[in-house]
């Protein structure tokens, strides 16, 4: 029994239960919420260390041997994703202390956040398709409540779209799992990998893989299934939309990468060719959508879509180098995007809104905040020496290596347009003078709350710079993750045992 694989699920569950037990005490809930996220972060670091040292690890829950029981598996990719969930979870719970109002906290905000983290980690670690569906639902139910908690009109409107499209995606996923079971007679992903490869490649299997592509595609917000995202992500409070923007769509991307490297590799020319096409349209439509927006968080929401395109571009190209680029991109994106949403929350705290025409003068009044916006913003656009540059560089080089000039061209153009959007936010929110008569009056000092909000922002910005200055560590991790993904034999052996 390897407890490290179970800890990322148990710790948030325990923290959520603790928060519920301390229902009457707001302070106790805050302490337990942050402690749970911190414990998750520590467990995630230990897990990644252990996976790095000993390779892929699996636990058969309840000692039911695979493929009959539920298996938890951690390879480098899973462990890295769990670590990123831990980082985002910890930063968000710190940020929430200053930014979430007392009413939301009383109605179980910290418990929900921990349930959400549990669902995310469960989805990353499970080795069973149906179990993956269950973890998606755990994550979704927590996110539904977080989205609607507070009951503002905008939140209700956003929540209806979010809930509807995610439930439809879950129904498709469920149907796909059922049909896949009907075809292969197993749900264990490692066993599926073997059995799908052993079947003659046929149209039915491709049809099932397309059902998975649509189901996970809705959750990952790829073209043309992304419309729920920009309609809902800007409605909840800043820390909630930050954790959604950072983590939730990436669980969909994770599931896509996992299924389309481990199980559905029977017709690469068709499935992965389609994914590459989808990636190109996702990049373009996201960045063009952002150009038309004039609200801080809506611009960022459209950029999530465009960045998702980069992540699945690596999957579509389907070489070890390209998948490594995808993994690097996901890691870079989660940190940067969460941070940008954090900054938008501070801007709202200082200026009272998210609309760019109401913002302004933030550089004059708060130069440090402006600097901490610039780091993730330039990194998103791919300016060296920040993390985004190496992420894009890895993908572009992998694309050129197999002569995918079309997709590489799209990726480069979209990078330029991203810079345009970030410049727009910079000049509107930070550079131009504040609207009204606030321009003449001296800046009021930041409240203690707002300064506390800067702590997680600074931590994530430092992490972005650190990845940029020493990209070797993350690069090595992603290369190894990609090697494991492209050669699933090690994964299968670890789960199923040595073939006898």
């Amino acid at each position: 029994m390897k407890p490290l694989l179970v800890l990322p699920i148990i710790l948030p569950l325990a923290a959520a239960a603790g928060c519920l037990l301390a229902w009457r005490s707001r302070v106790a809930q805050r302490v337990i919420g942050v402690a749970g996220a911190a414990a998750l972060l520590v467990a995630a670091v230990l897990l990644l260390q252990s996976v790095w040292r000993d390779g892929v690890q699996a636990v058969q829950i309840g000692r039911w041997p695979a493929p009959f029981g539920i298996t938890l598996v951690a390879d480098t990719f899973s462990a890295l994703m769990v670590l990123l969930a831990g980082i985002v979870g910890f930063a968000t719970s710190l940020y929430s202390l200053a930014s979430i109002d007392a009413r939301r906290e009383q109605y179980g905000y910290h418990a929900l956040m921990n349930v959400l983290l549990m669902g995310v980690c469960g989805a990353f670690l499970t080795g069973d398709v149906f179990n993956l569906y269950v973890w998606f639902e755990v994550m979704l139910i927590a996110s539904f409540v977080l989205m609607a908690l507070g009951g503002e009109r905008a939140q209700m409107e956003g929540a209806i779209k979010y809930v509807t499209l995610n439930l439809m995606s879950s129904a498709i996923l469920l149907a796909a799992v059922g049909v896949l079971y009907g075809l292969t007679g197993t749900l264990n992903m490692a066993d599926l990998s073997v059995r799908v490869a052993a079947r003659p490649a046929g149209g039915v299997m491709t049809a099932v893989s397309m059902m998975f592509l649509v189901a996970f595609g809705i959750k990952a917000a790829v073209f043309p299934l992304f419309f729920w995202l920009p309609a809902s992500y800007h409605t909840p409070p800043a820390p909630v939309s930050a954790v959604f923007a950072g983590l939730l769509t990436k669980v969909g991307v994770y599931a896509l990468i996992r299924m389309f490297t481990l199980v559905f590799t029977h017709d690469v020319a068709f499935t992965h060719g389609l994914i590459t096409l989808v990636a190109a349209f996702t990049m373009l439509s996201g960045v063009l959508g952002a150009a038309a927006q004039s609200e801080f968080r809506r611009i960022l929401s459209f950029h999530i879509i465009s960045q998702i395109g980069y992540m699945i571009m690596g999957l579509g190209l389907f070489t070890a180098a390209a998948v490594a680029g995808s993994v690097f991109y996901i890691a870079h994106h989660i940190i940067v995007k969460t941070n940008l949403f954090f900054v938008s929350g501070v801007a709202r705290r200082l200026r009272g809104g998210y609309r760019l025409d109401g913002l302004g003068g933030l550089y004059r009044d708060h130069p440090w905040l402006a600097l901490m916006f610039l780091v993730p913003a330039l990194s998103l656009a791919g300016i060296p020496p920040l993390s985004g540059f190496f992420a894009k560089f890895a993908l572009v080089r992998a694309g050129l290596a197999i002569e995918g000039y079309g997709i590489v061209g799209v990726a480069l153009v979209v990078g330029l347009l991203t810079l345009y959007s970030m410049t727009k936010i910079w000049s509107e929110a930070f550079w131009k003078p504040a609207p009204g008569n606030a321009a003449e009056s001296p800046a009021p000092p930041m409240s203690a709350d707002a300064r506390l909000m800067l702590v997680p922002i600074a931590l994530l910005a430092l992490l972005t710079v650190a990845i940029g200055l020493a990209p070797g560590v993350l690069l090595e991790l992603s290369v190894r993750a990609a090697e494991e993904l492209m050669n699933p034999a090690g994964y299968v052996t670890c789960v199923m045992g040595e073939p006898s």
């Binding site: 269950v134 539904f144 905008a154 209806i160 509807t164 129904a171």
Partner: protein
């Protein structure tokens, strides 16, 4: 098998029709039907075997084929419980949205889109 397939198809059609309507109440009913359709699809995709419960008969050492596969039913049971919970949430959400917006028309909830 064929009647079951027709029922599944009918349920999917009805669910998508209702989701396409403008009333958010019908939207929720559509989502409920969508879940039922997926559950029945799992049931039929897993293979329907009648009158052969997966029990080892007295005197036998192991199960003798054909027998009904219990796993799809276990999956459906899990999915029903999940969709029950999610649907309860969706109903409350629709009610709260109705009180916040004052209309059950989906065209009235587009202020966050622009």
């Amino acid at each position: 098998m064929i009647p079951l397939a027709i029922v599944v198809g009918g349920l999917y059609a009805a669910a998508l029709y209702l989701i396409g309507r403008r009333s958010i109440v019908k939207l929720v009913i559509g989502l409920a039907l969508l879940g039922h359709a997926s559950n029945l699809l799992i049931f039929s995709a897993g293979g329907v075997t009648r009158g052969r419960p997966p029990l080892i008969r007295p005197g036998d050492e192991a199960l003798i084929a054909p027998y009904a596969d219990p796993l799809p039913q276990a999956l459906i049971l899990t999915a029903i419980v999940i969709s029950f919970g999610v649907l309860a949430f969706a109903l409350v959400l629709v009610h709260r949205a109705y009180t916040a917006v004052g209309s059950d028309d989906v065209d009235a909830i587009r202020t966050t889109d622009a």
